[in-house]
Structures are given as C-alpha cells and as structure tokens.
Amino acid sequence: MNTISSAPSASQPPLAFRRSSLAYKPGLARNRWNLAFTGLAAVFSLIAVLPLVLVLAYVLIKGGSLISLQLLTSLPPAPGLEGGGIGNAILGTVVVTLIASLIAIPVGVGGGIYLAEYSSSGPFAQFVRFGTNVLSGVPSIICGVFIYGLIVATRVFFDQSYSAMAGGIALSVLMLPTVIKTTDEALKLVPNELRWGAIGIGASRFVTIVRVTLPAAVSPIATGVVLAIARAAGETAPLIFTALFSPFWPEGVFNPIATMSVLIYNFAIMPYEAQIALAWAASFVLVVMILAANLFARWLGRFAQA
C-alpha cells in the first residue's frame, strides 16, 4: 500500500551532512580547539594555586630551618644581639585570638540564631543580614582605626591605651560577620520536621533551639567559627593600632602585647639579621598554625555529612 516505505533503501535522498567513520581524529578543528581550551583552563588553575605553593615553599625554606624549641619558648633578642625566639608573640597571638573568640562567638552565634530562628524575614532581620554583609567587606585596617578611636584613644580600660583587650575587640569585629553568617546558614539547613517534632511534644522555642536545632547544626557552625579564628589570627592591620607590640612576655590583657603578625611586620623591616630571621621563622609558624586551623575546620565539616 505504502509505496514510499517499501521502496529499496538505495533510493533514499542524499544526506545533508557528510558521514565519516566513528574513529577519533585529532586533526579536526573542533578537537584542536577542545584541547587548546582544556590546556588553557589547566594553566590558569595552576597559576591560581601557584602563590599558595610558592608562599609555603618560600616560608618553609627561609623560616623552617630556624625552628627549634628555643624559638618557640624564648623572648626576641635586643637589637644587635643574636638568638632568641618568638615565644611571647605566639602566646600573644593565642591570647588576643582567645579574647576575640570569647566576644565574637557568643554574639555571632546568638545573632545567627536570632536571624534563622526568630525573625527570618522581618525588616529588622533583613537589615541585620545586609549589615553583616557590609561589615564583612570593611577593610581590616578600618576596624583597627575604629577600635583605636573607641578604646585606645579614649583609654576606657583602667586608663590604659594600647592593650591586648583592644586588639581582641578589633579582631572580634572582623570575626563577627563570618560567625553570624555561618550560624544563620547552618540553622537554615536543619529540616523543619525536627523543629516541629520538638514543638509538637510541648518543647518551648528555647528548649527546641538549645536541645534539638543547635546540636543538629553544631558541625557547620564550628567549621565557620574555626575559619573565622584562622582569619583573625593572621590579621596585622587591626592590631598595629590596638595591641601594639611588646618585646616582653604578656603582662595582662590590659597592657600592650606582642602578636606574630605584628612581630613579622616590625622585624622584617629592621636592619638586623637576627630580627629578619625571626620574622621568617614567625611567618612559618603562623602559616602552619593557620593551615592547621583550616584543616581542623575541614575535619569538623566532615561530621556534617555523617
């Protein structure tokens, strides 16, 4: 009946495209372009990680050879003398970062809880979210100047000007946006069913958050907090105006304190060999500490998937 379909295949109309064999031909234009752009992307991604590798290698070569117990435990030498270490700066960085964490973690986690659990779409919450984003973009030196004007210049703490406390507060301003944002995001990922389950058996909002919602989100929050600490520990600019520097062991939180980043800044531009060597050693220790914190954060983040 249907004469067209019953006709032999030889009478098919000529193909619009040229048929060739299925074998891969590297000489074709599309295959050459494909290869070229894959190579280009690979080169750019290599360039992107190059600074990290070079910094690590350079700091390791320059500073790694100086690592010793003495370096980690003794005071820096007076100008012109040899030896010594950066013990006070390591301790100082720990103290200042601890102060910053003690301020930023409660305020940041509390703020994140408010945003995610109490007022997720009100105008005030949107204002806080916007403010957080702006704050995270504020240059760190501005944070330092701000705390200098607020605390150092006014001598509010026992008539002391530069102090570890002022440095900690300046760093906490830098940490806050990260902590608020990660807490907010982490709590939003907790399924609503879990909240309903608690509320459906008569839990108050407070008990629901503290006993059910927050434990379910603790891993990503901890990751965010550690990343914020790692970032703050490496900051120099906010500390120059606030914690200043001290060649001695820390004398309490209301006195000037040495930190690794400021030590590097001070010693690297000094005309003494010993100080420059110490700056390299401090760079190495600081990089290792921040790297360790980042790895720790990744390790914490792993529990989120488990």
Binding site: S120, S121, P191, E193, L194, R195, W196, G197, A198, I199, G200, I201, G202, A203, S204, V207, R211, V212, P215, A216
Partner: protein
C-alpha cells in the same frame, strides 16, 4: 462504655470547632468549619489534596503559629476552653495535645533519649526507664528496640521510626494525639501495625488522624470528616470546607451529601 458515650455525645466533646476559617497571608485555605470531636474516639479527616484537612489538624494544637502569616478566625474549644484565647500558652496546649507528623522525624539522639527528651522537658520526675519502656510498649515497638535503646533513632526503619515518634508523643501523656498522614510514607505491614496500635491507644487517648487512604479511615476511625474544595465565592481561587461530619459508617455507607458519596465511592479525588 463506647456505646454510652456515643449515645450522649454532648457530654463528651473533646475538641469543638466553631466557624473556623484559616488563611495563609491573604489566601484563604479553609472556611466555615463546625465540628465536635468526641472524647476517646478516633476521628479521621479525609478529602482531596488542598482541602485544608492538615491545616485544620494543625490548628488543633496551634502548630500553625509557626507558619508566618497564618491566621485563624472562629473558635477552637478544648474541653470548653478557647485555645486561641489571649492568655493561653501555646506550649502548654501542645503538651496536652501531642502531634505525629507525616514524615518520621526522630531526633538525632538515641532511641531512649528520643522518648526521655519530651518527658524531661515537661518536668517528669518518675522512673525514666519505666516510662520509656511503657511508651515503647504502647507504640508496639518495644520488642524491636529493647536491645538497642542506646542506638540512634535513625538506625530504625521508616515504619519503626514513625512508631518511635508516636511513642515519643505518648511519653508526655497528652490527652489528644493528632496524626498528620502518619502512614503515608510507610509500607502496608508498618501501616497495619500502627493501625492496630491506634485501636489500643484510643482506650486512653482521643485521636485525630488525617489520611488519604479511605480504607484506613474505615478501619481505624469512629467519626469521619469529609473536607472538600470549593470555588471561592468571590471568583478565582479555591477554598476548603468541611462537607460532612458524621459517624464513619454513615459517611461510607449512606452519606447525606452527594459530594461525599462521589468521593468515598471513588468517582473523584
């Protein structure tokens, strides 16, 4: 006892809805619901999707408070007390009227802690081990969990998790248990176990269940409310309403409304 209470329904009203209407923002979900849910019975809500039966269920223990923009008109009376009165604490309401959800939602804690959590936050002072065992027994899951009380609630199967959630709701000894399609995510065997359990539970609790499964409504419930979707009077949009509320046998055998008959005989929905 059951026949006596059925003979005099006015004495044993547990929850009473008077001209209840619920809206999400500006869109009305359900309106004009009058209903008297008796004590010690299983009441089922059936109806097509979007007819507002879950919305009404959630209004019975103020879970709708958690949804932003959700407002309720009319009155919901629990033993004669208005649940939406100004001086009522919603947390206290939910302690008396517990809820089980569509998706099993155990806490990421041990099986034991899942049960003990609710009791503890409600100030339970008695023997916790005994309460956990009693609750798990009532929810017909004790035999499966007694040797692994320290394991995570997530280690159980879906049907077991749902019974764990029911045990969790029972542990705080509520007067009413609301169940929002508790078997929709479960296999027939688990469903059967939960239905058997409900027959036991109604001796001590009032149960209100939302279900899409009409056979389930026939099997478990004493009273059935059929919700339907009607076109909104002012043009576009649809709104849910309670079409008919009667003893289950009547709804499925001799309903008063044509829409109910069409629905239960499978002609639509």
């Amino acid at each position: 006892m059951p026949s006596a209470t059925a003979a005099s329904p006015s004495q044993s009203i547990c929850l009473s809805l008077e001209n209840v209407g619920i809206s999400y923002g500006s869109s009305e979900a359900v309106r004009g619901v009058y209903m008297e849910i008796p004590h010690g019975k299983v009441t089922a809500f059936i109806g097509p999707s979007g007819c507002g039966k879950s919305t009404v269920l959630r209004a019975l223990n103020r879970m709708n408070d958690l949804i932003e923009g959700c407002t309720l008109r009319g009155r919901v009376l629990f033993d004669g007390q208005d649940l939406y009165a100004r001086d009522v604490d919603p947390v206290e309401v939910r302690r008396r009227i517990g809820m089980v959800f569509q998706k099993p939602n155990p806490f990421p804690k041990s099986i034991y802690e899942n049960i003990a959590f609710g009791a503890r936050i409600n100030g339970y002072r008695g023997d916790m081990d005994e309460l956990v065992e009693r609750s798990l027994r009532k929810a017909a899951i004790w035999d499966e969990t007694k040797d692994k009380l320290k394991e995570s609630g997530y280690a159980l199967s879906g049907g077991q998790q749902q019974r764990l959630c029911i045990a969790r709701a029972i542990a705080i000894e509520p007067e009413v248990i609301l169940m929002d399609e508790p078997c929709s995510a479960l296999d027939p065997i688990s469903t059967l176990k939960i239905e058997e359990m409900m027959h036991e539970l109604k001796k001590s609790y009032t149960i209100v269940i939302v279900t899409h499964n009409m056979q389930q409504a026939v099997r478990v419930s004493d009273m059935t409310g059929f919700f339907n979707v009607t076109a909104n009077a002012d043009g576009d949009g649809k709104v849910g309403c309670l079409e008919e509320f009667a003893p289950t046998e009547q709804i499925f055998n001799a309903p008063n409304q044509q829409a109910t008959l069409d629905y239960v005989s499978g002609r639509f929905g």
